[in-house]
């Protein structure tokens, strides 16, 4: 479904990605794990079109989407939940969802999407008129996920959805990720919380300083001694 080949990105003199290749099959949950600064967010932002690559290619459903503008990529069915949630704090919960559904054709589709979001996250329905910045961190993460689901993406990119959340909420977020996957959405998950990510994912790639250093089935990687030492705190 998504094929990334030999992707290189630099921010001025800083080389963030050096020839990264990986793929995501339809229906899979694929995890990208790595330390802070490894280049995980850069990968997602390049797929989404807000960072321009130096070289390499990104293919989605058999078509090349490298260097397309972000709104075209969303329209094709690839949507991202950015790192740090990034809800529009001054806008209401409802308006945030409307922005998530910006590419939808009509008001009816939008209304149906919002109803679906409220059914999935009843808490958001209660707070629909509140400014998003008044929500707690966990609620904001739910809103960010609900917002991304508004466009009914076929590929969902999640950037550290568990960041800064209490353990109970982290579990809830991973349950939601599993549920989204069961509904047929393909997921590319970026995490520093490697144990949770490897528990929910089918396959995973380990990233170090802009390069893929390990890859394989999630269960195998979770048993790999190097991974256990570096990312699972052993």
């Amino acid at each position: 479904m998504l094929v990334v080949e030999n992707l290189s990105v630099s921010y001025g003199a800083i080389r963030a990605l050096r020839g990264v290749s990986f793929h995501v099959g339809g229906g899979e949950i694929v995890a990208l794990i790595g330390a802070n600064g490894a280049g995980k967010s850069t990968i997602l932002n390049t797929i989404s079109g807000i960072v321009r690559p130096l070289g390499g290619s990104i293919g989605y459903e058999g078509e090349e989407i490298t260097r397309q503008p972000p709104h075209r990529i969303v329209a094709r069915g690839v949507c991202q939940v950015p790192e740090g949630r990034r809800v529009f704090g001054r806008m209401s919960v409802q308006e945030n969802l409307e922005m998530g559904g910006y590419t939808l054709a009509g008001g009816k589709e939008l209304a149906r999407g919002i109803e679906r979001a409220f059914a999935l996250f009843p808490l958001l329905a209660e707070r629909r008129r509140q400014a998003a910045r008044t929500l707690s961190g966990g609620e904001q993460q739910m809103l960010a996920i609900a917002r991304a689901l508004m466009s009914s993406p076929r590929l969902l990119l999640l950037d550290e959805p568990s960041m800064g959340l209490a353990p109970l909420l982290v579990e809830r977020i991973f349950e939601i990720i599993a549920a989204i996957s069961r509904d047929g959405t393909t997921i590319l998950l970026v995490e520093q919380n490697a144990s949770m990510a490897l528990a929910v994912a089918h396959r995973a790639y380990v990233l170090e300083s802009g390069e893929v250093v390990l890859s394989g089935a999630a269960g195998e990687l979770a048993r790999n001694p190097e991974v256990r030492r570096a990312y699972l705190g052993e």
Partner: protein
């Protein structure tokens, strides 16, 4: 170049001193209305600065010249083509919408990924280009609207004399600002403007075509400036190639005073500047007229660095 505000000193003096001849009790109301009328025109221009800054953090230095262009288009349509004032204003707004969009496309968009300084220099270049072009086409002398363009009558309310022109200015400005508020709060593109101004990258990640939002923002701001240009041209009965310079500076001061990036802030900032300026002149500080606006700006920023209604600066990544 001589720094002139709204071109004709004569007309201004008459506008500002008329009301000093009446009694002290009527003076307050009179000056207040005067100030609101002047402040409304500042607010109309200030909105363009604040909306553009809110989205791409660029001070559009050419905005004052868009205001000037609007005044000239209005003047031409009324003077040469004998169009009714309202129609002329509508056409001036349409013309400037296109002008604003073209300026953004040609002078700012190619520099989007360059430093802010290059975009600023480009903006100053456009500003000089437009005022020189107007000088070439229309000459250095201020031009006036024909007498019959808008019949001015004095209406007595309580102790105050209000001219129909002031009523026109206040009513048109109010109507435009209410329309703007509706667009920004309720429409799809207006919400996209707010989202983009809050977080540019995330707006793009939601599928919002941010380039289109930016064009739309320039169109809106330029339309308001054009309306301001026609109204100011009528108010002082003078339109000149350099009228955008001081008007632009003061409107920019109004935008900063209200909190740059904030739409209600620009409205409030414009009114506050207009009213203080008129009262300052009435109290006998007419030689400091242009300085008053900037003095207020400095005072307010000392107390509230983000302006009257500005929010804390967010770190745009």
């Amino acid at each position: 170049m001589r720094l002139q505000y709204y071109a004709s000193r004569d007309k201004q003096q008459r506008f500002f001193t008329d009301f000093r001849q009446s009694g002290a009790d009527s003076m307050f109301l009179q000056q207040l209305i005067n100030g609101i009328a002047l402040g409304s025109t500042y607010a109309l221009i200030a909105l363009g600065y604040t909306m553009v800054y809110g989205i791409i953090t660029l001070i559009n230095f050419a905005h004052g010249e868009i205001f000037m262009a609007g005044a000239f288009v209005g003047l031409l349509l009324v003077g040469v083509f004998k169009l009714n004032v309202f129609l002329a204003m509508g056409c001036a707004m349409l013309f400037c919408m296109a002008l604003g969009v073209v300026i953004e496309f040609v002078a700012y968009r190619p520099l989007r990924r360059s430093s802010r300084l290059s975009a600023l220099i480009s903006a100053i270049g456009v500003s000089i280009f437009l005022s020189s072009l107007a000088l070439m086409i229309f000459g250095a002398n201020a031009k006036a609207f024909p007498e019959q363009a808008f019949p001015v009558q004095q209406i007595r309310i309580g102790n105050a004399d209000i001219s129909t022109l002031q009523i026109l200015i206040i009513a048109v400005s109010a109507a435009l600002m209410v329309t703007l508020e509706f667009i920004v709060q309720k429409t799809r593109i207006g919400k996209a403007m707010r989202a983009t101004s809050e977080d540019y990258n995330t707006a793009a990640l939601m599928g919002i075509n941010v380039n289109r939002v930016i064009s739309f923002t320039f169109a809106l701001g330029s339309a308001l400036a054009a309306a301001g240009g026609v109204l100011v041209g009528l108010l002082f009965n003078a339109v000149s190639f350099n009228m955008g310079l001081m008007a632009g500076l003061k409107a920019f001061a109004a935008a900063v005073l209200g909190g740059i990036g904030s739409i209600p802030g620009a409205m409030l900032g414009g009114l506050v500047l207009g009213v203080t300026e008129v009262f300052g002149v009435a109290l006998g500080y007419s030689s400091y007229r242009d300085a008053i606006a900037f003095a207020i700006l400095v005072l307010v920023l000392l107390v509230r660095p983000t302006g009257l209604l500005g929010e804390k600066m967010q770190n745009k990544v």
